[in-house]
């Protein structure tokens, strides 16, 4: 039972960790970078209200940013006033803005703390931006901006590349119609049905979703989750086979009692049934304890991650330190069901050994 619990607990914790991490990464992509659905270059848009939480206008283009020491390649996103005041978005980002006393006449840009560190600039500093033209007749234009805000999502995939400017200013930087985007945030119940929602949108623009736009990132999430689930299931199946070997040992250790039961009239089927019930009950109890422990660990990983992040471990750059944990009941159910089924089969197979134990073992020892 202890072994099963010790296997199940980290498996459950790992599932909670990985699923919660991916969910939080997706939420950051959706809320900060792209929205669930993007409609670009449109003159009209019609989306049934039932699908939509809200829509926002944005402009997107690319630029190189220079400080006196470094360069960064960035996606510049033009946003409307109050963009960061949205409650759900606010949960995904921390942001420091400039005091009015520090403001200059230059247009402002909000960069990530990652970019700020790379360029060695802070709030109030000036940076040069070389805007990459998004039309055929466009030319490279250098502009000077003031860093008016520094944000952090906690996720380097976003922080490395995204900077924000006012929508009204972005219109001047990026002239192409295709850079004008309407971001759609879909209601919770439709967030897993983006294809269905996209089909209901009537527009002359190009409709994409965040998964298509970040196809490699999305595929990485999917493949990572599948790989994690596969590895965890293999671990669980190996543990289940170990249960069978424990069952074998139990049968051998209890061979006297089994022989005695047969001596007083218990048929082999009854002996096996009884052994199966007791071993399987112990397995289920171990799984339940492991589930409880795993949930307890999985829901309280933040302090560990914060501690690890303080150690400046390089690989953590690609993960979130702070995310809200949730229990993926479906996947945990699948893993537990696999373990229960494989354990049951393996134990049943190993219990065939009881056939060889006859009452004569009491007298001959074999």
């Amino acid at each position: 039972m202890v072994l099963i619990a010790l296997v199940m607990a980290p498996v459950v914790a790992a599932l909670i960790f990985s699923q919660s991490m991916v969910n939080s990464m997706i939420e950051k992509f959706v809320r900060i970078s792209d929205g669930h659905i993007q409609i670009s270059g449109s003159t009209y848009i019609n989306i049934p209200d039932q699908y939509v939480s809200y829509t926002e206008k944005s402009i997107s283009g690319y630029a190189l940013m220079y400080s006196s020491t470094e360069t960064a390649s960035l996606q510049i996103k033009g946003i409307e006033a109050g963009y960061f005041e949205d409650a759900e978005r606010n949960k995904q980002v921390t942001i420091n803005t400039i005091d009015n006393s520090q403001k200059s006449n230059l247009n402002g840009i909000t960069i990530s703390s990652y970019t700020a560190n790379k360029l060695e600039v802070g709030i109030g500093d000036k940076v040069a931006l070389m805007v990459v033209p998004d039309t055929q007749h466009g030319v490279l234009r250098p502009v000077m901006l003031q860093v008016t805000g520094i944000y952090s999502t906690g996720y380097n995939m976003i922080d490395k590349s995204l900077a924000f400017v006012d929508y009204s200013y972005a219109i001047k930087l990026f002239e192409s119609e295709s850079s004008r985007i309407t971001e759609v945030i879909v209601r919770n119940e439709y967030q897993d049905k983006l294809a269905e929602v996209k089909n209901q949108i009537k527009t002359d623009g190009i409709v994409t979703d965040w998964q298509q736009k970040n196809i490699s990132v999305y595929n990485n999430y999917i493949v990572s989750m599948q790989a994690i689930l596969l590895v965890l299931m293999i671990i669980v199946v190996v543990a289940a086979f170990f249960t069978a070997s424990v069952a074998n040992q139990i049968v051998e250790d209890d061979s006297r009692e089994i022989a005695l039961s047969k001596l007083i009239g218990a048929p082999d089927s009854m002996v096996r049934q009884s052994a199966f019930i007791s071993i399987f009950t112990v397995t289920l109890a171990g799984m339940a304890i492991g589930l409880g422990l795993g949930i307890l660990i999985g829901m309280n990983l933040s302090p560990v991650l914060v501690w690890l992040s303080e150690k400046n471990i390089l690989v953590l750059e690609y993960y979130l330190v702070d995310f809200s944990a949730s229990v993926p009941w479906g996947k945990i159910g699948l893993v537990m069901l696999s373990m229960a089924v494989v354990s049951a089969l393996a134990v049943l197979i190993s219990l065939r050994h009881t056939r060889k134990i006859t009452p004569m073992r009491l007298f001959t020892g074999v």
Partner: protein, 231 residues
């Protein structure tokens, strides 16, 4: 006429150390046990008395011959039927009491009835009554490790009787007991035969106990001879 147990031309041999000539233990054994009769098998150690008893109970198989239980050849029974026979018709008592160490005296007595399919509330009063008859009313909730040798053997007798078997097979039931406890166990076993329609087959070295039985059979030179018959 059918008998509770009838052995017909029973032979038993084991592979010998050189694996060439088998080691003959029993040769052409024929006998039958009648109801309400106690029979003792005596003989020197190693002559095959216990093997013969195990063959009678369907625990071991003869090399040749048949064991008939109430006229039916038990070699033709499958595992389930053989188990049912052992559970309902035969009570076993051995020198080593063979109790389940993790169960109390009362539970040990109840187990064969539970295996038969009786409910706990049905068999518990019977088990309690049997243990009372064995003088163990104050030992019912004790585990085997907490009982003396004589007490364990009386628990084993109670267990052998719980399903009201036709035949009791006892292998040296007093072998590990002191004189006083041995006498008590002998009395109980012989009472059981007299008080019910049962048959007792006893293997023993204890000549005093054997003489109290209705018949004495001697196993010598692989064959069985009757030293004293009930008639």
């Amino acid at each position: 006429m059918t008998y509770p147990i009838e052995l017909v031309n029973i032979c038993k041999s084991f592979p010998s150390a050189d694996e060439k000539t088998p080691l003959q233990i029993l040769n052409n054994i024929n006998f039958c046990l009648k109801s309400n009769e106690s029979t003792a098998i005596i003989g020197k150690s190693g002559t095959g008395k216990s093997t013969l008893l195990q063959i009678c109970g369907g625990l071991d198989k003869p090399t040749e011959g048949s064991v008939l239980f109430n006229g039916s050849d038990i070699s033709k029974l499958n595992d389930a039927k053989m188990s049912e026979l052992r559970n309902r018709k035969i009570g076993f008592i051995f020198q080593a009491n063979m109790l389940m160490e993790d169960f109390t005296a009362l539970e040990n007595v109840m187990i064969p009835a539970l295996i038969q399919g009786k409910r706990e509330h049905e068999c518990k009063p019977i088990a309690q009554e049997l243990l009372k008859q064995m003088g163990l009313e104050d030992r019912m909730n004790h585990y085997p490790a907490q009982l003396s040798g004589g007490e364990k053997q009386r628990v084993a007798i109670a267990r052998a009787l719980i399903n009201d078997p036709d035949v009791i097979l006892a292998d040296e039931p007093t072998g590990s007991l002191d004189e006083e406890n041995a006498k008590e166990v002998e009395d109980r076993l012989l009472d059981i035969v007299k008080s019910g329609n049962r048959t007792l087959l006893l293997v023993t070295h204890n000549m005093d106990f054997a003489r109290r039985c209705d018949r004495i059979l001697v196993l010598k030179n692989h064959t069985l001879t009757e030293e004293r018959s009930a008639e």
